[in-house]
Symmetry: C2
Subunit: 119 residues, 2 copies
Amino acid sequence: MVAISSDVIRGYNDTMILSILLKEPSYGYQISREIKNITEGKYVIKETTLYSAFTRMEKNGYIESFVANQDLEGNGKKRTYYRITNAGRDYYLNKCLEWELTKDVVEKFIQKGEAYGND
Amino acid sequence: MVAISSDVIRGYNDTMILSILLKEPSYGYQISREIKNITEGKYVIKETTLYSAFTRMEKNGYIESFVANQDLEGNGKKRTYYRITNAGRDYYLNKCLEWELTKDVVEKFIQKGEAYGND
DNA sequence: CTGTCATACTACGATAGACGTAGTACGTTT
DNA sequence: AAACGTACTACGTCTATCGTAGTATGACAG
């Protein structure tokens, strides 16, 4: 069974989170579920990875946090929401460019499906 | 300027090295130059990364080392050559499959070139 | 024959993202 | 009152990569 190793994704968890925050502010649990849904269950981010990414990215100025209740009337649980900043948008776009370059590099060393099973 | 960060490549240096060893046994300096050539200078592996990859992969049984001279007459410098094992081939092919999966996952969060600059 | 350069490494410590384990706390449902 | 899902925080460990440094050999130039 082929699984996604953490080393591969390393450096792209932040990108995934930012990509979700591009649409609208969100919070930990929701982002986690979105990543799972978007990837059709192929990738599930670990809780500790997610929350430490928040801390790091807020420190770096890529996101901003604010606390809000579940609904507008002040009912339900309080949550920490995150909003992407302009610096975060720049970082995200740069990561997208980096990804294209990285993909080109790695793929020069990768054998595609067609190449298997000919011996 | 977009550069390849080490975090992105993390976990794929081994794959690159194995991909080169698939063709024939080789040694540090040559592998380093091959990676640079194949990627047209886009990626240059660090010496320490390369040699620690050798140690790790030999320990894991993916490669085997042997010492040989530069030419058959026993002239020239002695070098440590590495040869891929069957376990190394399996590992490599598995990494190729993993790469396809990873690529699919990451790309769900990446904006392509067309999407830039429309605001 | 002496110095410089390219080659061919080894040693060692630092970094940082990811992860394992654990625990807290609140709101809703049964 | 208990159980479950949500919403976190704390803390230590792991490990691929990297920075810096140093060693040693052979080739080649002056």
